[in-house]
């Protein structure tokens, strides 16, 4: 459905049984966001959100692994903020200070981005809310970049589902 220049995207549409304003808060109020964002046994010990265009976000996901608790940090920036309607933010693997991990730190050659973008669109349908979420990889500059960047994204996704199995 989406034409975003990247074949690798997830688009999910859901009808949420809640009013627009509350669904908006699910994404923009850390208290609410922490309650649902971590799937399965993953918890969100930290969620900092400066919800305005250019504002930053920092989310920590903690999962239990056979090797003990594992923390992953994700930093990003809000690109579009239209209250109760449209939210766009980026997401990159980072450290606890929100510094995006240099590709070399992640074992990748230099110059390879690891950023993805999350778009949320909300629409009122008679008191309930239609929510369309699109998560896409930002087009990469070089062909070889995709492999590594996406491998790490897959890994992050895997971590999130790990304790679910």
């Amino acid at each position: 459905m989406t034409d975003n220049g990247s074949a690798d995207a997830v688009e999910i549409e859901r009808i949420i049984d809640a009013p627009l304003a509350l669904v908006w808060q699910m994404w923009t109020d850390p208290k609410h966001f922490k309650a649902w964002y971590g799937p399965g046994g993953a918890t969100i010990p930290v969620a900092k959100m400066d919800v305005r265009v250019g504002g930053t976000r920092l989310v920590c996901m903690e999962v239990q692994t056979p090797n003990g608790p594992m923390r992953m940090w994700f930093a990003g920036e809000y690109r579009e903020v239209i209250e109760n309607e449209r939210l766009i933010y980026t997401e990159s693997i980072s450290d606890e200070n929100g510094h995006v991990s240099a590709p070399s730190d992640m074992g990748m050659p230099e110059g390879h981005p690891t950023t993805t973008e999350v778009r949320v669109e909300l629409k009122d349908i008679g008191g309930r809310t239609k929510m369309v979420m699109t998560h896409l990889g930002i087009p990469h500059d070089s062909a070889g970049a995709a492999g590594w960047a996406m491998a790490l994204d897959k890994l992050a996704a895997y971590i999130a589902t790990y304790s679910n199995r």
């Binding site: 997830v10 049984d17 809640a18 509350l22």
Partner: protein, 120 residues
């Protein structure tokens, strides 16, 4: 179902990546193969400590050792990171699970809506 994915292997892969020294070793190997001695050079670490890190990376399948006696140069093998299906396919169930939780959470927040709205 992604039952073919070797979950233990993947957790080992992530555990291997969750260490800055090992990531630095991988970064070095991304530029080309190297011996343990060469890998140890940038670090203030004794060889056995570096060897230990390399063993972890080997177990995770991220590093393969050559057969040349003594030197046994190390090389990067990104295959463990690539054996998962596409990025989007991996992420979809993560988001679906999240939104299920959002539904549950919203039901707790709005108890009055609880009954009779199962359809879609």
């Amino acid at each position: 179902m992604a039952a073919t994915i070797d979950e233990d292997r993947l957790s080992e892969t992530f555990a291997a990546l969750a260490n800055s020294t090992r990531r630095a070793i991988l970064a070095r190997l991304a530029e080309g193969g190297a011996t343990v001695n060469e890998l140890a050079q940038p670090f203030e670490m004794k060889l056995p400590a570096i060897s230990k890190h390399i063993k972890v990376l080997e177990r995770a399948g991220l590093v393969v050792r050559g057969q040349r006696a003594q030197y046994r140069p190390c090389a990067l093998d990104p295959a463990p990171l690539e054996e998962v299906s596409t990025w989007a396919e991996r992420y979809r169930p993560v988001w679906e699970a999240r939104f299920d939780r959002m539904d549950d959470y919203l039901r707790q927040l709005q108890p009055r809506r609880k009954a009779g709205k199962d359809d879609d």
